[in-house]
Point group: C2
Chain length 82, copies 2
C-alpha cells in the first residue's frame, strides 16, 4: 500500500458541504478498489482540492474519484513523509 | 490562524533524509513567524513536495520556507477540510 496525494483544480467556490459530500461519495465506494481516503483540504479561492489516500496503485485512486464523479487532475504517490 | 497547503516543484529524487532535513530547518525558525509546519509528503518521481502548516498568513508561511532555503512554488490557504 502506498500513500497518494491527488489534486483537483477548477473547484473555485467549493463549500464545506460540497467537500463533505464529495468525500462521502469516495468513502462509499473506496473499498471496491482497496483504497482509503484519509483526508481532504480545499482552497475555495483558487479552486484547488488536495486529497490524501492510501491504496494499491494510482489507478485505483483514479478510479474511485472518477466513479464518484470528480476525476483528479494529478495523482502523486508520496512514499516519503515527515 | 489558517491552515495552508504549499507545493514545491522541481524536487525530483528527494530522499527521506533530505525531506527530514528540510522539515527540521522549517521547525527551527517557524516560531519567529507564528507558523507551525505539521506534515510534509514527497513524490520523488515527479519532484513534488506538499507541506501542511498553520499560521497567520500565506506571507508568514512563505517567509519561513524562503529563509529555510526552499521557497514554495504555491501556497494555498485551505480553510476547508474533511
Amino acid at each position: 500500500m502506498t500513500k497518494f496525494m491527488d489534486v483537483h483544480h477548477g473547484m473555485r467556490g467549493i463549500t464545506s458541504d460540497q467537500l463533505d459530500a464529495a468525500h462521502r461519495a469516495d468513502l462509499a465506494i473506496e473499498d471496491e478498489e482497496g483504497v482509503h481516503f484519509e483526508k481532504a483540504w480545499a482552497d475555495p479561492e483558487s479552486g484547488t482540492v488536495f486529497c490524501l489516500s492510501e491504496g494499491p496503485s494510482a489507478g485505483a485512486v483514479r478510479r474511485v474519484h472518477e466513479r464518484a464523479g470528480h476525476a483528479a487532475d494529478e495523482i502523486h504517490p508520496v512514499p516519503l513523509s515527515v
